[in-house]
């Protein structure tokens, strides 16, 4: 899926198509944004735009970045939701047991990383393909949560017993910017640096594109694949911490709600970017696109199930457009 835009002759229509193809994701975002701004009076307000960033963006963005880490090595992680849940369970349970928030948060991150490590053992150790291995983790993880909670009872924090730092993580703000948004921004920057500037990221992407070449170059591909999946678990755990700090409760298997949207955002980002491979900016724009559509459809007052149809139609339309224009550009 490499685009050779430089090879296109500089005639005006072709050049225009090239620009459209190169920036398909940004254009889609702008179009959707414009449509909702006209369609509903409340969409283009500061309060609503903030709400999109906090409610429709942060958690999914973190989950989708975790997914991007797994997709970058040519895999997929169906257990991102499991890592979110395990982190949330460890975090909430330890806070409930009176442990300091910092310790509980570390334990949560550890739980998420453990899910990633389990995947890493199955994938790099035993040699099961990522899709299948993480599917097994998804099933087992769901059941372990039910065993831990006597069949799926939520773990509530009593309103009086919520530590201030815990609340701060989910609802606090620094200089008017919500804490979850700050954490998300840090993760976006860190993940971008790791994936594009660090040696690990380059090797990871190389494994995703052509694993045999990486192996023949004498690089331990297995170790890098394992690291990518542990990283995915760790990043997803951050979403788990923010989720539980926001709702002050752990609900078993609630993380799986992010799975399909995370896959969707990652693949929108991969397909619609000029790079044609997993990349963090593309994923983030994909999440924004899904978030804006979800929020905009909600504001238009349509039934909730139209949101799903809208999401499906959106992915269809964007992809179809991208593939059609791309074929024209390379014709």
């Amino acid at each position: 899926m490499t685009l050779q835009t430089s090879a296109i002759e500089p005639s005006v229509p072709r050049a225009l198509i090239g620009v459209v193809v190169d920036n398909a994701l940004v254009l889609a975002l702008v179009t959707v944004f414009a449509i909702f701004s006209f369609a509903t009076p409340t969409f283009l307000t500061i309060a609503n735009l903030q709400s999109i960033l906090v409610n429709n963006f942060t958690l999914l963005a973190i989950a989708a970045i975790a997914m991007t880490s797994a997709v970058s090595v040519g895999g997929i992680d169906l257990s991102v939701g499991t890592a979110i849940d395990f982190a949330s369970f460890a975090f909430v349970s330890l806070v409930l047991a009176g442990q300091p928030v910092a310790i509980a948060a570390l334990a949560g991150l550890g739980a998420g990383a453990a899910v990633g490590a389990f995947n890493a053992v199955l994938i790099s150790g035993i040699g099961i393909s990522p899709f299948l291995a993480t599917l097994g983790t998804l099933f087992i993880g769901r059941s372990i949560q039910q065993l831990l909670t006597n069949g799926g009872n939520p773990v509530y924090l009593p309103p009086s017993g919520i530590p201030e730092t815990f609340r701060f993580l989910g609802r606090g703000a620094i200089g008017g910017i919500p804490v979850p948004l700050i954490i998300t921004a840090i993760i976006i920057v860190a993940a971008t640096v790791i994936l594009t500037r660090a040696r690990f990221g380059r090797v990871a992407l190389a494994i995703g594109i052509q694993p045999s070449v990486v192996r023949y170059s004498g690089i331990a591909a297995r170790i890098h694949v394992a690291m990518a999946f542990i990283l995915a678990g760790l990043i997803a755990a951050v979403a788990g911490l923010i989720l539980s700090a926001t709702v002050t409760v752990y609900i078993p298997s609630s993380g799986s709600a992010f799975l399909l949207n995370a896959i969707g955002a990652t693949f929108i980002g991969t397909t619609l970017s000029r790079l044609g491979r997993p990349n963090i900016p593309g994923t983030v724009l994909g999440v924004l696109l899904l978030g804006i559509v979800a929020n905009g459809l909600l504001l238009t007052g349509l039934n909730f199930y139209w949101q799903q149809v809208g999401t499906g139609l959106l992915i269809f339309a964007v992809l179809a457009l991208s593939f059609i224009t791309r074929r024209k550009a390379s014709a």
Binding site: L132, R142, S143, L147, R222, T271, V309, G312, I315
Partner: protein, 348 residues
Amino acid sequence: MTSTIDEAAPVQRNANRVGWLADLGTALRSSAVFILLAALLLGFSAAEPAFANLGNLMSILQAVAVVAILGAGVTVTLAVGGFDLSIGAIAASSVMAASYAMIVWGLGAIATVLLVLAFGALIGLVNAFLIVRLKVPDLLATLSMMFLLSGLQLIPTAGRSISAGLILPNGTTATGVYDPAFLLIGRANLAGIVPVSVVLMALVAIALFVLTERTRIGRLLFATGGNAVATRLAGASTARLKMLAYVISGTLASLGGIVIAARVGRGDVSSGGSLLMDAVAAALIGFAVLGKRRPNVLGTIVGAVFVGVLLNGLTMLNAPYYTQDFVKGAVLVGALALTYGTVRSPSP
């Protein structure tokens, strides 16, 4: 996705490790699922005499029929190197479509079945169009189809389940009822013993087994999954083969939906929830059956039955319902470890 099917070429890596020990190991591995299945049947029969009764064994088969039918479709899409995430949603919307056709439009059993099967085939065709013509990646195309269907199926009734006497969004009351002949698909037993849904499962299994393992088309399907470019250069139309695979997958998913609708007797908005994962798991467990290390229809059916036996037995022994997912996950990982673990292939 490239990651799932890179094992499709069955390489004989053991060939140079001569000796009867290796042969025995191979034989054991290829029949491990059957040995385990036999052990389970014996163990459960010993622990709970009611388990071995014919009625219970038939109810196990009836319980896995839908998953096995969908799993057979998954097998075919896996064979061409694709993946169909929309089967659960197709089955669920087929339940709604069947109910809507009978209760709102007042259609009979035969017309309903044909209509719903055509619906499934059409969705499969749309998937194939997206994947083959527009070159949208499989996972992405079928994922958006899944979103689309799970929303669309709620719209004709404004989110309500469909049963006789349904009040339509425009205020009128639907006059139709479930055709008794339709209900037979889910509830009748042939010769008083074998449920119709089990017969359907067997027919699907035989038809697809013959198609995938005994015909030229079947070999080309696997060839497409193994190396699409080589297959195309060899003169086969990989586009048509993929299209065929997705149409089969969609049609079988709608058949699964028909069986569910006929068993439940109403259009429940929440039906079909875990079907996708269960069907995929069955197809993947099937990799280990007979040591094929590739998708195969027989393995998928055995995989579905294996999970069904395990869940039924555990339920009889009073295991809590929430151990079910654990069992499914453990079986899946175990089967995969069995398939790949003993062979040191140059994995990712």
